[in-house]
Subunit: 367 residues, 2 copies
């Protein structure tokens, strides 16, 4: 490494990686060399039994003096009094809202927005195709060794010409758009703030190479707003497939409830949409969803998030028809560690050289 690559701006800092990854000595060595004087500590946040380590389990001397923190869950503020930068290991910040560190404007908080986009979009499209192609039905037939007498007993709608509506056009929504577009779908995007100019349509978050829609070129139409009326107008666009990929904020909580399912299911052509939620359980009124599934107001749904989590075994959502429910795992990927460290390193470099960080949480806006 050349002298020119050494960055001095973090020489008084202590970085703690409290991350769900085993320690990578070669990464620590590289970062320690690159950021002159930076102390690097690492605590693997998963135990051998796959349960999570809490910040209270971390020895006091490891937390002592930490100024830069990469973490999945928010530690109690008294354990991280000197933190000035938090690199979240999640795309959402909802578990931090109300936390004193989050409320402190002197602390810069960045998400890992973008590192989960490929796998979550794969979950979304996988869930769509799982539903459309009736794979569950066929796996039941496999158990019986049953080959039906005619292929025409199967009814399938394929995707070309369908319309995908994406509520929240961030990194995840953009990769859903990329896949939907490759399937031949038309993309409609919904964002909180207006995206009228090419510049405003760009994605400023981390983007895994060969994925996403960094320039914001895929949507055929853009919608925006914060009111229920604006959302309802979007939902009335004859959507075949609605993806929820927006942050949970007070104004997006319960964004889909009885009136919205009613709108989604009231297409003049009688077609019924499919809904995928990879955002947060709180976005959907689950009673309304169950009713929409039971009455056929929507043709199906896929949820990777519920309210509460874990969902109790006796919750009726488990037994709703035409629903795929997974336990908040859509973000899991074996490539996550590399992407997580990549975003962190990118922001350390920007922090050390005084450049604007990526994925900074705007605590006034939230999305």
């Amino acid at each position: 490494m050349s002298k020119a690559d050494e960055i001095g701006g973090l020489s008084n800092d202590v970085l703690l990686l409290f991350v769900p990854l085993p320690k990578r000595p070669e990464w620590i060595e590289r970062i320690s060399k690159r950021f002159k004087g930076l102390q690097v500590r690492w605590v693997c946040a998963i135990k051998d039994d796959k349960s999570m380590v809490t910040a209270k389990d971390v020895p006091a001397e490891v937390l002592d003096g930490v100024t830069l923190l990469s973490t999945y869950r928010p530690p109690p503020v008294e354990l991280i009094p000197h933190v000035r930068f938090v690199q979240l290991n999640s795309a959402g910040v909802d578990s931090w809202i109300g936390h004193p560190t989050y409320e402190d404007p002197a602390v810069t908080i960045c998400t890992s927005n973008g590192i989960h986009a490929p796998q979550i979009a794969e979950w979304v499209i996988g869930a769509w195709l799982f539903h459309q192609r009736q794979f569950l039905h066929f796996t039941e037939n496999m158990k019986k060794g049953y080959w039906p007498p005619s292929p025409f007993a199967t009814q399938v709608q394929d995707s070309p010409g369908m319309r995908m509506g994406i509520l929240g056009y961030g990194a995840i929504g953009r990769q859903c758009a990329r896949l939907g577009s490759a399937l031949g779908m038309e993309i409609y995007a919904y964002t909180r703030s207006e995206r009228a100019t090419p510049e405003s349509r760009k994605d400023d978050s981390y983007c895994v190479p060969r994925t996403g829609d960094p320039e914001g070129l895929l949507p055929a139409k853009w919608f925006h707003g914060t009111s229920a009326g604006a959302v309802n107008a979007f939902l009335a666009q004859d959507l075949d497939f609605l993806v929820l990929s927006l942050p949970l904020t007070p104004e997006t909580r319960g964004i889909l409830s009885h009136p919205q399912f009613e709108i989604l299911g009231s297409r003049k052509d009688g077609k019924k949409p499919f809904i995928a939620n990879v955002a947060r359980g709180g976005h959907i009124d689950q009673e309304a969803l169950i009713e929409a599934l039971e009455t056929g107001t929507i043709c199906g749904a896929a949820l990777d998030v519920t309210n509460p989590e874990p969902l109790p075994a006796e919750h009726p959502l488990w037994r709703a028809p035409n629903l795929l429910l997974t336990p908040h795992i859509s973000w899991v990927s074996s490539f996550l560690p590399d992407r997580l460290l990549d975003v962190l390193e990118c922001n350390l470099e920007r922090l050390g050289t005084g450049k604007p960080l990526i994925n900074v949480v705007d605590r006034k806006l939230n999305y």
Copy 2:
């Protein structure tokens, strides 16, 4: 319709649509007007109970004098002695090989190549994501209302940076490439004949709008050949995902057997590929496949085609591990009728005006 749109070249012809679609009087009326003097007959090839009508069930007067035939299955030659053009309702021609009509060089035979590409590619990518995202496992958990204590118990590899190998780069393979590419995969294509020039890489089959790779721009590398050695060299390219989308011919029968699975499973990095077959059951030595699945030589497979079909209930393939098996339904789509009639009309127009047809079967080559 203007006089200029009228086409006279089929005035001595009798067209029979022996197709798995209910009669569409408005289509018949339009075609009859457009092709002056053309007689149009229509027999729906599916019964109410979804079983298929055979040509022998068709009244003699309906078959009498037919010169242009759109059909799914080959009728006995004595029932169609005057046929000069056959528009197949399938992408494959293997059920016609050896049929006297097929052997007669005076008969032009066209496939419906391209009309099945979107839905079959969706099946392929759906099967891939079904496997990768372990949806079957999660549906089992749903029955129990089980939410695991940690998300880290789930292991998932997402697609960016993976390599998809496509054996047979026709309409179906091209839409698989489009989807694989959107997932962030690198595409390697294998064709029978060399595709060295941009012109040779183009797709000359019917292409559903917004799908496929009509210009042949997606593959990072092209491979070709007819020998086992050429195929084996392709299979040795560290493929993560192998798609079989090639016609069944004497030289492609059994193209994947013990040695080929051995090659696929021998990557230096220890990774094991996934295989999807949407071509014909005869392409794969099923005993070798079962062994490859049981020994973990490949990580999983998805078959929409088997040998024989229907697959008997007692066949061991039904119980092979990490396998998704569906009863030759990947081509089913509610949009198929429109695409089928679109290809037929396109070829009638070319036939009537003396232009080269699309999707003509080259009976010397087969692929």
